[in-house]
Every structure is written in C-alpha cells, then in structure tokens.
Symmetry: C2
Subunit: 328 residues, 2 copies
Amino acid sequence: MKKFLNRVDDVIPESLAGFTAAHADIVQLGEEGKFVRRRALKPGKVALVSGGGSGHEPLHAGFVGHGMLDAACPGAVFTSPTPDQMEAAARTVDTGAGVLYIVKNYEGDVMNFEMAAELAQGEVARVLTDDDVAVERSTWSTGRRGVAGTLVVERIVGAAAENGQTLKQCRVLGERVNQATRSLGVALTSCTIPAAGKPTFEIDDAEMEFGVGIHGEPGRRRVPLVPAREIAQQMAEAIGSDFGSARGACLLLVNGFGGTPSMELYLMYENLRAQFEKQGFSIARSLVGNYVTSLEMAGCSATITRLDDELARLWDAPVHTAALRWGM
Amino acid sequence: MKKFLNRVDDVIPESLAGFTAAHADIVQLGEEGKFVRRRALKPGKVALVSGGGSGHEPLHAGFVGHGMLDAACPGAVFTSPTPDQMEAAARTVDTGAGVLYIVKNYEGDVMNFEMAAELAQGEVARVLTDDDVAVERSTWSTGRRGVAGTLVVERIVGAAAENGQTLKQCRVLGERVNQATRSLGVALTSCTIPAAGKPTFEIDDAEMEFGVGIHGEPGRRRVPLVPAREIAQQMAEAIGSDFGSARGACLLLVNGFGGTPSMELYLMYENLRAQFEKQGFSIARSLVGNYVTSLEMAGCSATITRLDDELARLWDAPVHTAALRWGM
C-alpha cells in the first residue's frame, strides 16, 4: 500500500481537519468531529443531511454549503456513520423546518439513518438514492445501490431547500430526482482501503469490471477491456434500456472514481455523449470530474438525470461548496 | 496499460472535443483544434496565452476563462505545442492590448514560444515560470522547472489583466509572482504515457521520488516512503530554506498529481500546514486538488506563494474557468 498517511486510524480525522481548515469559509467541524457542517446556517430552511462511508470524497463533505447540504457525516472508509453522528448533525443544523436525510441505499446506511430518525427530536424525512442500474442486489445492498446520482439529488433538492420549499416538498422532489436518474460504473483497477492494506479485488491487465459499485464490489460481469467507444456504448445501452422509452433533455454526469486522469474522463464524456445522443437523449447539462469516488480506483461512471424545466432551473441555481460552485 | 481510449493518436483530440463540449459556456476550440480559447473575448484586455504538453490537466485548458487565460495550446502528451499553435492562439485572442505568454521553463516550450513570438504580428511579452526548488537542472530543463506554481501566476496575472493592467504591468507582475513562489513534488507511483504504453519509471513499493517533476522525471533522491508528517516536514524545509529568511502571509497549494485520492491530499494539506506554520509562514489562502497533474501519477506537490495585500486581492478576484471558480 502506497499512501500518504501517519497512523491508519488517524487518516479520516487528519483528512477532515485539513478539509475543514482549507474550506473554513464554507464549513466547520461539528461537535466531537462527528460531522462537517455548513458554517452559516439559514434559519427556517429545511436542513439537508447526508453521510456514508468515507472514501468517496468529495461526496458528501465536499457538497456542504449554500445550495446543497447542511451537514455530512463521514463514517470509516466504506463503513456507515453511526446513528449518533447523524442525530448530532441533525440536531445541530435543524433551524426549525425539519431535516431531510439523503441516504444511499446500502444496508448499513439505511439501518443507521433509521435509528437516527428514531432518536430525532424534530421532524425528519428521508430520501433513498438507488440510481445504479448494474445490479438489483449486491454484497452491500438489498435493491439497487445509490451511487453518483446521489450528487444530483443533493444538488437539486439543496437548491429547492434554499428557495424555501417545505420538508415534504423536498422529500417528494428528492424522490422524483432519484427516479429520473440512472447510473452505471466501470472499473479498470481496484482501490485499497487503508486499514486493509491490499487491493479490494484482483483484476487482470486486460479486464474491466462492468457495473462495478463504488466500494469496488462486483458488478454485472468481468469482461475484456475494449476501446472507449464500445465501453461507452455498453454503458449507454444499459442506462438507456433501463429508462424504457423515456428520453428527452438530460444531465450527463461523467464521474471519475479517483484514479483516472481528467484527460480520459473528458474522452469518455465525448464518447458517452455521442452514444446517449444516438439513443435519443439531448444533453442539456454536463458535469465531468471526480465527484463520487472509490479512493484511487481507476474507472468512471455515467449518470443520466432526465431534466424538465424545473429540475434544470434548480440544477443551475447558485451553489457554493468545496467541490461544486457556480452562480455565486 | 489500462486506459479509456480508442486510438492512441486520437486521445488528445477526443479529450479536447469532450472538454470543449462539456464547458461550451466558457470555452471553444480554436482554428483546426490548435488551441482552446475563451468563448467571449474582452476587447482591449491584455490576452494571456499559455500551453505546454498535455497530461497536466486541468492545466492549461481548464484555466481558460474570465480572470485567467484567454487561450491554451495543448501539445502531445508531455511534448511542447508547436510555434504554429501558439501564434494562431495569440492572433485569435489579441484584441489590441498585446499578448502575454506564460511559459513553463522546459527547453521545448521555451524554444517554441520564442519562435511563436518572432512570428507574432502584435505586441508580445513572456513570463517564464520556474518555481520547482527540487533541481537546478533536469532532463527536461536548463534551470528550475515550472510546475504547479504556474497556476498561481496564471490566476493572479489573469485577474490583473481583467482589471485593465497593461502588457508591461502584467509581465512585471507575473515575474513578481513567480519569484514569490516555490514548489516541491513527491511521487509514489509513475504515470504511463499512452503512446509509450508502459510506466515512465519503475519504483519500489516502499519508495518515493522526492522532488519529482511533473513528467515523472527524477527529482532529488529516491528514498523510503515515510509517514506523511515526515514527508511534509521535508517538503516544507526544502521550500522554506529556499525562501531564505522571507516568511509571512502565503498561499498554500497542495496539488495532486492525478492518482492520489482527495482524502490523502487533505491529509497532506493538514500536515503541510502544520509544518509551514512551524517555519513561520502564515497560511492566508489555500487550494487543494488535482490542478497540475502527471496523468495518473500518485503523489502531490506543495506550493507556497508569499502574498502581499495586492497579490491576495488579485487571487480573490472573480474567476470563472472549468477548473477554478469563485466570486462570480
């Protein structure tokens, strides 16, 4: 394992200390380091809280700020945060309009956020994200996994909350965005969890994992590495067919898993764009970069969110976080 | 070699097509794909043109936009662009106030930008960046190499140009920023140039390259991989001693080389911050992320720019590019 670290147990606290120091204008560390919170809360706004295992940065702490999350709870690497963390975050950032938890569909996360909801004093609601079309059940989840589409839910619901929508409106909107969103990922290499010290999985030099999860968990199939155009075609077909006949304007998010350089991500964007357009999608918004990662895994995912005018407007609304910024 | 690509020869044009499509609100491809230019030019503003070998993305094309560059010329991977590209870019974006070339100190780049300057019709000037304290001479350069500090020069001079400073003022400012800037990089793994198909260098599992260049070229020494705190200490000492007794307010840029995850970059930021503060620097501004990369190389660099009030104000001024955005 070749990583920048001191003690394995200190990786996350040291990294969070650096993150909150580097972005002190936007965020601060919550009580006992249990969560990252927005520095300036907005009284009367629905509070958005997310979280999950670490290792997917900038998700979720990089999305705390104006127009997105109010708090993010980081667990150990690829391990759910505790109900205690989530409850503390919710209690801190709830300014009276209630708390919406945005939860990726993994068994640990779902269970812990449910326990946190039971502990809550104020009003809480939940949106579950399950945008990964790769598998219907995996080693980590019952039902589909929540992956890069979670960013889209956080961004669009974050804009709605900023605009004064109620807890119920935010929940309904979040469910609508999740239903309008589909993702699929491909891995070329594994990642290495610091505490494990060795790669999560082995993969041959000439192979890729089609439909990989964001923890390096298996996808649909282990297949030969083919040219980018063919990979893009297979990804677009898997996503497109899952949408049935629904087409139209959409957001295309090409998300790097951490170890794939920008040059290849934009090349994949170019190839994916062509394939989705061939299928009848019209790419109205784009985002390309490392947003929902798996440590240093090489690979990428494609996410399509079908946009109507309301969703496009909310996507475009001002956002100011460590990892996403526009309009202000 | 495991990369997303079709034909090796098409990697850069396909990637540029994706980049300019994804950021069509900010940039467009110049004539015959020779350069990436700002979509909306500002008449009467000094035009800033940079460029260099590809593989360092988002440098330079990701920094084209308001408050930074007017055009960027991408060469083949780790290969200087041609004088023809630079001349075409300058001709296109010069709106009457002249062109400032920002050139990293590598022999190929210096020679080709000089030839481009000779071809130029309008007024041109040049700022050379040589912020890497690692070596005084390398396989690629006579004198110090230009590395991540180039971003700081592009940002600060970009703000000054936006504010209406003259070509001479911009050149003098650029030289001042370069002189106030020092960097040092450390690599844990090599990168693989697509056309080469194999890693640029071999490195043991327990080693790091201290003082590595952004093409994977050798640095000061090949040494055992030590804890992050010790790496940070060695980096801060190399940079601090090069500043002599000059200390005070500074920008700290912790730059990822492409393959190191965000979690480790923020951990390194935390450790570097502590070491630089111990040396007497006061960290007034921070930037952490993959900005001047070496494809998928694992590693990072630290850059310190000593800031006075003017430089801090220009750093903070609005910028709107694919890779850096704030204040608008």
